[in-house]
Amino acid sequence: MGKVIVVTSGKGGVGKSTSTANLGTALALLNQRVVVVDADIGLRNLDVIMGLESRVVYTSMDVIEGTCDLDKALVKDRRTKDLHLLAASQKNNKNDIQPEQMKKICLELKEEYDYVLVDSPAGIEQGFRNAAAGADVAIIVTTPEVASVRDADRIIGLLMNMEIDDMGLIINRLAPKMVESGDMMNPDDIIDILSINFIGVVPEDKEIVISTNRGLPTTYNHQSSAGQAYRRIARRIDGEDIPIPEFKPGSWLGNLFKFNSFK
């Protein structure tokens, strides 16, 4: 039996879809069987980030409506084996799906796969509720900005109400130089405020844009700092006890944190 992980944030545009695509790819590269599910009905993105848009025939909507079997709706990745995508319908909207229907799909998927990563839409409404409905674990993505952390706090509260207590925080788009000059909150600041299990930092990296242009997740790029970060986070999710790296000597991160909750 696998795990369903919802990737969510509250605030829009902080890197949920990027994180879902990269972590899904990185987990598959660790020889795990993975499905990434786009739950952003009406505004689908994940297919494009993964470079699979031309292969999408069916969506989760077709599965719910019974026009297609779940197996048949999954799109196989081009490069990595055991990596699949369940796309979102572009012509429907978030209220056309009920949490129970999404949950059923997730339960069915985790019978067959090790990890089911669900890319949540922004917001705290039904789209988020659908995405989180079947989740065992939540990954909360935030950037080191006031508004984003505030929304993350709101989402953490909602997830707790939904009894999804296993949560991990990813801080995305960290700019080490700005942290150094005191113009960006560092991970310690954010963890201090949110008091939640911390699973990693992804630096600001223009390779993210380049790789999204190409439809190849940054995870494949061993030169990219963001790609390296995602590969490490994936190993941590998969239960390896590896420290979060420091961005520069003598900096704030250190090996202070232990990451056991995802085991």
Binding site: R150, G182, N186, D189, I193
Partner: protein, 91 residues
């Protein structure tokens, strides 16, 4: 005066520290769900209660949540003009 001083100190603070303290304040308010309406209702109730004991200068009343170090404080400034002595208190 004090507010000006705080503002002056803030200007020299690193922007990430300003961000952090603003966030801490925002989150306490978010988490307790203290909004304007609630503060207004609180102020009305408080002044009603205090009016039983004091003559208050209604215009000068200020009430807000403030962060003091790591915790929040309800800071009220309620100018009193006189004490209402020997006024029988109703239960």
């Amino acid at each position: 005066m004090l507010k000006q001083l705080v503002r002056l100190l803030r200007r020299n603070q690193k922007s990430k520290d300003v961000a952090k303290s603003r966030l801490q304040l925002i989150l306490v308010q978010d988490r307790i769900g203290i909004d304007e309406q609630l503060m207004q209702a609180l102020q009305t109730d408080m002044t009603a209660l205090l009016s039983r004991y004091f003559e208050l200068e209604q215009d000068g009343i200020e009430m807000e949540m403030q962060r003091e170090g790591q915790s929040m404080a309800l800071v009220a400034n309620i100018p009193v003009s006189s004490l209402k002595i020997r006024r029988p208190l109703q239960a």
